[in-house]
């Protein structure tokens, strides 16, 4: 969930009234926001870097507000205020208009070289805008929030904003060899080639995260004006030449990306939020984008879409009984201008360009419910009549767990993920013999594979509890995972039961006795006949030679028991003899 940080006093000024922290928290809760933290720049710095560094920092009160991940229109002060004011019916939702320029329209021409790397671009102009320090900061901050969220860290969309008065169109969006791109990037004093820049930014804490997007591509995206001035090298950096400042009056905005829909949404969000400060409020000057196939589009789209939803559907989904007129009023408070039409039961809803999150009637239903107030909805119990059933494997597991504890063994709960070493090397096995599934992106060795046996987890549990009095008797009944090409995903779980006995003597007879007890509980008689169970001398690298047996029950091998090999004991950092038992319980279902 993105967090937006706004100055409290600025927020209250824009909202036209003051709130106590509790009142504002309550308002947020109702609207689906969360007042996450009340702080100040000074407090933040002092927390992160100590009191000394915080000396002289601003102590203006900041509200940190959590915004739902699909509400891009609430990612800045301007949007938050507009949303809340409409919600409280203090203002009517503004209507956003795209207008043609008096002179020639700004053009962005996309060449076909971009196709393989970043094929889409959209653009618009904010004409005669008036920034202040706070507005300017908010404008930059919004771009950053969009980059981090809908733009997927610039991978899907990257935004460039430029002082149009320093440039001269038409603009060209193309892709070139990195060595052929040379310009003075934002906030640098000399020119670098793209190759040099990629090197420089490797140590830049902010930009280094975006380099991978184009790093290994033969051509890098780049935007020029008609004089060959570089506006930006998306998605990495803008040029210094067209840098915007507090004094900039005309802003050229370009968004490039790999997802056309999202690029259009991002552009719509920026211009709807900041056209508030244009001389003609809420108007945006159009720009033309010519695609390589020659087709030309005008942006921003600023599309208003109409949906018709029946009032009784909304009532039925929410569980309320409101008149269509009331529902239309509720929706209007959510920035969705609505009116009753047709037979009097239909509501026509206008979805503004700021509400890209509304893609289905269910989204409209939710907004009606929010405006009605979730906590005002009458709670009722559904009449759904059903008979409950347990999942048989879990039912058996639950029964066995209790009797294992009654037999004097204590239950452990160990991780399903572990290192290759745990399930192979430490048990004297080769990893290829384990049929283990492998994780492709583990951050540490602890998450290399899913366990194929429960034994390592129990041995590690003992190792972490060596201070406890002996003997230690542990068990676990849980799932292991192995590859299995007969399953749709190519792997499956097996429910295993594992027990260990750790003491000054190996206690094979105790583990053997536990097996006898388990078989008694499962009603499996001793002996090979009539689906009984037997143990037969066997061997395994994890066991001490001559102290290992394979367990057969109901005509199949279900596991092994024995005294662990001293090498295994040592590798798990243990010092005492230990015997263990591990079986698959699924044959007993």
């Amino acid at each position: 969930m993105p967090t937006v940080s706004v100055k409290r006093d600025l927020l209250f000024q824009a909202l036209g009234r003051n709130y106590t922290d509790e009142e504002f928290d309550e308002l947020c809760f109702e609207f689906g926001l969360e007042l996450d933290e009340i702080t100040s720049e000074k407090e933040i710095i002092s927390k992160e870097q100590g009191n000394e560094k915080a000396e002289g920092a601003s102590d203006v009160v900041l509200y940190k507000i959590d915004v739902p991940a699909n509400r891009y229109d609430l990612l800045c002060l301007e949007g938050l205020v507009r949303g809340l004011q409409v919600f409280k019916e203090r203002i009517k939702p503004p209507v956003y208009k795209r207008v043609m320029p008096n002179g020639e329209i700004q053009k962005l021409i996309i060449t076909e070289e971009t196709a393989k790397i970043r094929p889409y671009a959209v653009a618009a102009v904010l004409r005669n805008i008036k920034f202040t320090k706070d507005r300017y900061d908010s404008f930059i901050e919004l771009q950053e929030k969009l980059h981090q969220n809908i733009c997927r860290k610039r991978a899907l969309v990257a935004i460039g904003t430029h002082d149009l008065d320093t440039l001269s169109g038409p603009f060209t969006y193309t892709a070139k060899r990195p060595s052929d791109i040379k310009f003075k990037p934002l906030n640098k004093t000399k020119e670098y080639t793209a190759c040099e820049l990629m090197n420089i930014y490797k140590t830049d804490n902010h930009l280094k995260h975006y380099l991978h997007i184009i790093e290994n591509k033969p051509l890098y995206p780049v935007i020029y004006d008609s004089n060959g001035v570089i506006l930006s090298m998306p998605p990495i950096i803008n040029g210094n030449h067209s840098k915007i400042t507090v004094n900039t009056r005309n802003v050229f905005i370009e968004c490039t990306g790999t997802d056309f829909t999202k690029a259009k949404i991002v552009l719509d969000v920026i211009v709807t939020m900041f056209s508030e400060y244009c001389e003609n409020q809420f108007t945006v000057e159009a720009a033309e984008v010519v695609f390589p196939n020659g087709k030309s589009y005008t942006f921003p789209e600023l599309a208003y879409r109409k949906e018709i939803v029946r009032a009784d559907l909304i009532n039925k989904k929410v569980g309320i009984r409101e008149t269509p007129e009331n529902i239309a009023k509720l929706l209007t408070r959510m920035y969705l201008k609505s009116e009753v039409i047709g037979d009097g039961n239909q509501i026509e809803i206008e979805i503004p360009p700021t509400r890209a999150d509304i893609i289905h009637a269910c989204d409209i239903v939710e907004d009606a419910a929010i405006a009605y107030g979730y906590n005002n909805i009458q709670m009722t119990l559904p009449k759904t009549y059903t008979i409950a059933n347990q999942f048989p494997l879990n039912k058996l597991t639950e029964l066995l767990r209790h009797d294992m504890a009654a037999a004097g063994f204590t239950e452990a709960l160990t991780f399903a993920l572990c290192s290759q070493e745990d399930i192979a090397d430490k048990l004297g096995l080769d990893i290829s013999a384990t049929k283990a599934v492998h994780i492709s992106n583990p951050k540490t060795a602890e998450f290399q594979v899913a366990r194929t046996t429960l034994l390592p987890g129990l041995l590690k549990t003992i190792a972490a509890n060596r201070k406890m009095p002996l003997p230690l008797k542990l068990f676990e009944i849980s799932d292991i995972v192995v590859k299995d090409s007969s399953r749709d995903v190519g792997a499956r779980n097996y429910r295993h039961l594992c027990a260990v006995y750790y003491n000054k003597n190996p206690g094979f007879e105790i583990i053997h006795g536990l097996l006898d007890r388990i078989m008694q509980l499962l009603n499996v008689p001793p002996g090979e006949k009539k689906g009984g169970y037997v143990i037969k001398a066997s061997e395994g690298p994890a066991f001490f030679p001559g102290r290992c047996a394979e367990i057969f029950a109901r005509g199949q091998s279900i596991g092994k028991l024995g005294v662990l090999h001293p090498d295994v004991i040592t590798k798990f950092e243990l010092t005492m003899p230990c015997s263990s038992l591990e079986i698959n319980i699924e044959p007993f279902l």
């Binding site: 989904k317 119990l381 559904p382 991780f415 549990t461 972490a464 201070k467 749709d488 995903v489 792997a491």
Partner: protein, 508 residues
Amino acid sequence: MADGPVAEVLLRQLEAADGGLDSAELAAKLGVDHQAVVGAVKSLQALGEVIEAELRSTKRWELTAEGEEIAREGSHEARVFHSIPQEGLAQSELMRLSSGKVGFSKAMSNKWIRVDKSAADGPRVFRVVDNVDDEVQRRLQLVQGGQAEKLGEKERSELKKRKLLTEVTLKTYWVNKGSAFSTSISKQETELSPEMISSGSWRDRPFKPYNFLAHGVLPDSGHLHPLLKVRTQFRQIFLEMGFTEMPTDNFIESSFWNFDALFQPQQHPARDQHDTFFLRDPAEALQLPMDYVHRVKRTHSQGGYGSQGYKYTWKLEEARKNLLRTHTTSASARALYRLAQKKPFAPAKYFSIDRVFRNETLDATHLAEFHQIEGVVADHGLTLGHLMGVLREFFTKLGITQLRFKPAYNPYTEPSMEVFSYHQGLKKWVEVGNSGLFRPEMLLPMGLPENVSVIAWGLSLERPTMIKYGINNIRELVGHKVNLQMVYDSPLCRLDAEPGPPRTQGAV
């Protein structure tokens, strides 16, 4: 029979004594070791109200072995002085005397003797004065006579420094008759024996009273893990509410069932390498229900079922990618898909509690794997009010009654609501679960009828357990670093009962 001869004597003395007696005095009087009297006092105390004994501690000065020798035979310096005849003594000879070394230097500094270094056959020692006053001996004799208080603080500490005196603390009892005083106390039996039962001798025997303040001996037993005890209770609650358990025994899931089927777009941040464990082997799912896959693809990329869709290029390769499931909602999706294939539609209530995996940054409250609890109800005409009603009943069974609901965003539910409960301890509202109605874009491609709604909610198993058992670090609860003492000590899990203080002892 009394409890040993000393106890017997003590009782007789006490009968005669007026106002009690001192254990040390009695020991001196009887000529026995003080410890023997103390033992008698304690054994009589154990009998109940026979005697009353008050512990007193007194400090006393005592002579050391060397001090006693001096009190008897005079100080080293005096002994040196007396051993010197009129005509003097060779220093070498003097030094051979037992008190020679110490006595010589002391007698010198007292100016009792002198050394003539010019004597013909080596240094010779002569008396300087005719008589000496052996102050050290006199003082030690005072202490010996119990008159240590007559010595000044400085004198005592000087003698202590010379290791002739030591201060000892003596613990004595002041013994008085108790309310059940008697001189004829018979020995008490400690336990009932089979012989006493058969002979009937238990009738005539007094029994030693039990100390009910002592701890009992804990039984040897196995223990269930606290988190899984809580799991059992949650299963119980769902079963009480008529919910059927879904199969969740597949940790490995395809991206299709984990994300795509839930209408979670392929560029969603949760599908990032940073958040999800993907598999290298087996890297891809082998089979997917292709008819259904096509409907899902169309809904994502073009919309349909009343939806605008996400309008992006949906890729099958992305859906085939195997992963460790990030939520059990993937199992719910499979269960709902199976439900949708059954005609005619029959309402269903499902639940599951099982492990899920996140490639997250680990800290005191987050691990890479945790348990998710999920409840699902599918029926015609379910409303948000129904969801809230079911949640109210569910949380009431957990002992949580004060609930409120906050609008929220989840990719696969709409409307969505976060569930908050008022935490009495923290004095604030805390999130206890997440819920919503599954999106039509998820349900309709499965083939569920259009007027069927599915309400669902989820929460983690670890969080309520940590609150329940007062555990701050999740590693103490889950995984091999568990504190087994905590497992041994953990109480029953009764979710609707008032929480008590955590009882884990010795958790080092």
